[in-house]
Symmetry: C2
Subunit: 405 residues, 2 copies
């Protein structure tokens, strides 16, 4: 008799995004003529940069020509893209193109990377943070029973609160795999150089691995916060970095990302030394067949001078939206964090109002869709996330509605 992976039953029943969709759909059904301002899900609202469009369309035509089309590509990605990323994104950082694996999404790679590790590794995750770090470990069986609090047994949570300026602190106990997210989704706070150095040192002392989600790194403006963990000395020996073109270049509908696994990253286990790079390479080749050639061409076009100009303009425009919205919320008396190194704003709910209650209030009284902070973890209670990827007009209209009470 086939038996189920019983770890699935430990997943939190209220999966955040479907729950939001359900409440929004219910509200829409009751008030079909309302005009919702969606500041919830972090999807882009500006089209693909022209350079990427041209490259994508050009590659589409190539695919139809004998002598020009491409069949199976390398599962780790085409050299033309890996080299472009190494020379532009990691200029001066000694990242070799062969250390960069092209993939179809940072979400997939972050969810899959834990497969390289034994079930009994101790994991730590920021709280609040993006749900996939935890969920992928739950499915794999690396967590224990769901506690009454809604937290998972066997997981070390790293609180990111007002008290510590939303910066996950190095723990006093040994952890094996640590997920970090900088700038953090949802708090919008980037980790500074000093904090990242503490984490690198901690990882070295404990033979731990840092898994850094840098999905929003292009939005970092603070000169004290590195865009890559590999700016930190020693990081090559302890860290893996996940990046994506989704937000910086409007690729959410195209699906292209990359993961940097330095060759210096070794694990001592079973009495010998293992290369995480070799292991990921094997996993990648076994369970993944590469990203579509035209999509990789589109991504490579972002690294031309014109492509870089377009990406920078796109990032700036979202950051400007974030600045204006943050300013507007502050003028209305809200306490707001984030929005300076990230497109996300982390807004405190009014005193004694829970995240979900504030979500419902915003939806029902102002027809504004947000994301309740508690959906990202316990320490997110009392906050709400707004996305500045929303249309300028939606952000402006939302402010107007809040203003008029």
């Amino acid at each position: 008799m086939a038996k189920l992976n019983h770890h699935f039953s430990k997943l939190s029943g209220n999966y955040l995004f479907p729950e939001i969709e359900k409440r929004v759909a219910d509200y829409r059904q009751k008030t079909p003529h309302c005009k919702l301002m969606d500041l919830g899900i972090g999807d882009i609202t500006q089209p693909l940069p022209a350079s990427a469009v041209a490259a994508l369309a050009g590659a589409a035509l190539e695919m139809g020509k004998q002598g020009a089309f491409r069949g199976y590509g390398p599962s780790e990605g085409y050299s033309f893209l890996r080299e472009a990323i190494a020379s532009v994104e990691y200029a001066g950082l000694e990242i070799d193109p062969s250390e960069i694996f092209i993939s179809d999404g940072a979400q997939s790679d972050i969810a899959n990377f834990q497969e390289l590790f034994d079930i009994d590794n101790r994991i730590a995750i920021p709280d609040p943070t993006y749900p996939v770090y935890l969920d992928s470990n739950v499915i794999a069986g690396r967590t224990r029973a769901l506690l009454k609090t809604g937290r998972h047994g066997g997981v070390t949570y790293l609180p990111c609160t007002e008290e510590n300026e939303f910066k996950p602190q190095v723990p006093t106990i040994p952890i094996d795999l640590i997920y970090l997210c900088s700038p953090n989704n949802p708090t919008g706070t980037a980790m500074d150089r000093k904090l990242l150095k503490q984490w690198v040192d901690y990882a070295k002392e404990n033979n731990a691995i840092l898994l850094l989600d840098g999905a929003y790194s292009a939005f970092i403006t603070d000169p004290d916060a590195p865009q890559s963990i590999f700016e930190i000395e020693g990081a090559r020996e302890v860290a893996v970095e996940f990046r994506t073109f989704s937000k910086s270049a409007g690729f959410t509908g195209l699906r292209c990302s990359y993961t940097v696994v330095p060759k210096g990253l070794k694990i001592y286990d079973f009495g010998s030394i293992h290369s995480l790079h070799a292991l990921w390479n094997r996993r990648h080749a076994t369970k993944f067949n590469g990203v579509a050639y035209p999509i990789q061409r589109a991504a490579a076009a972002l690294f031309t001078p014109q492509g870089q100009k377009e990406v920078k303009a796109l990032v700036s425009s979202y950051l400007e939206r974030a600045r204006l919205f943050r300013q507007g919320l502050a003028n209305l008396g809200y306490t707001v964090y984030g929005g300076q190194d990230s497109p996300y704003l982390w807004c405190k709910t009014p005193p004694k109002v829970s995240s979900w209650n504030f979500f419902d209030y915003l939806l029902q009284s102002h027809q504004i869709v947000s994301i309740p902070g508690s959906g990202f973890g316990h320490a997110g209670e009392g906050f709400i996330r707004f996305s500045a990827f929303a249309d300028s007009s939606a952000l402006g209209e939302a402010l107007q509605r809040l203003k008029s009470g």
Copy 2:
């Protein structure tokens, strides 16, 4: 201290395709001016159908336009593609579009599907067959130690040999998860209706799940061999089917496939009934973010009348190559199977010559690249696989070289 997933060490060291690449590269280095005829890896050699090219290029332009571009799509795929597949590929078979999950490759889906099941399920795989069924289960820890024979402990192998006409027979012991591949890669043999019915009945009796890899189903010509397992009565309650556009429509460089998980497929476990469809949906949404919109548009274009004409012409042309090559080999005295319901030819090596020795002989004496049958499993020993996806001219030249001895 971070600890590795020790199951990786159980993977067979000689991973088939890298070993072939190595031997070919070594030979090339020694004889740089030789002209190799590559009949090895099953990659396509004809460009993308014109309908798909036009749709892909059109969607690329859409992605650059405000009001037209698409961000995140549904992780399970766009309705326009799921509906097209249901109405054309499953016409008359009661497969609902919501039962079809769009993915980036049959390889990924087949490798990932085992995650839904507990580690202690008993698995069976055909021998020989595509290595990913076994490798994904090895990595997950569902197999025991690697035996001296090179086989894996805890796995039931289903021999596909000349004696049983390369048809995996229903076992006499209970198995929980059974991988089937029809037409089989590498033997090129499709399972007939009677045999599939036996498997469906077996699965019902044993509460087992059939995971049918139909990557090459479009090549089936035998009226007795169904293109889909869902043509078999009762299959909706026990089977999952994996399909891809890779070979039938030249999509190896575009990456698009689909998996059919019928809603009737239930598992009784932990004292209650679970829907495999709901579980796969959850896994998909958690660890995958959908296929690129332009790629899905390209796939949907294959279901227009013009697209269907192009796909049929492509499949026929590869089958014609297979027919001619099989005929040629037979004329030279070789014993050849497959090539009638599949683009793969399964050719017996000369008496007492092993697969790898025959591979080396073909490479060194005739500059022909093939795939040693033993790389697909023990029962593949004494065979070699040729791919009729190769260029017509390469197939013709290979025959000439074999003829001239």
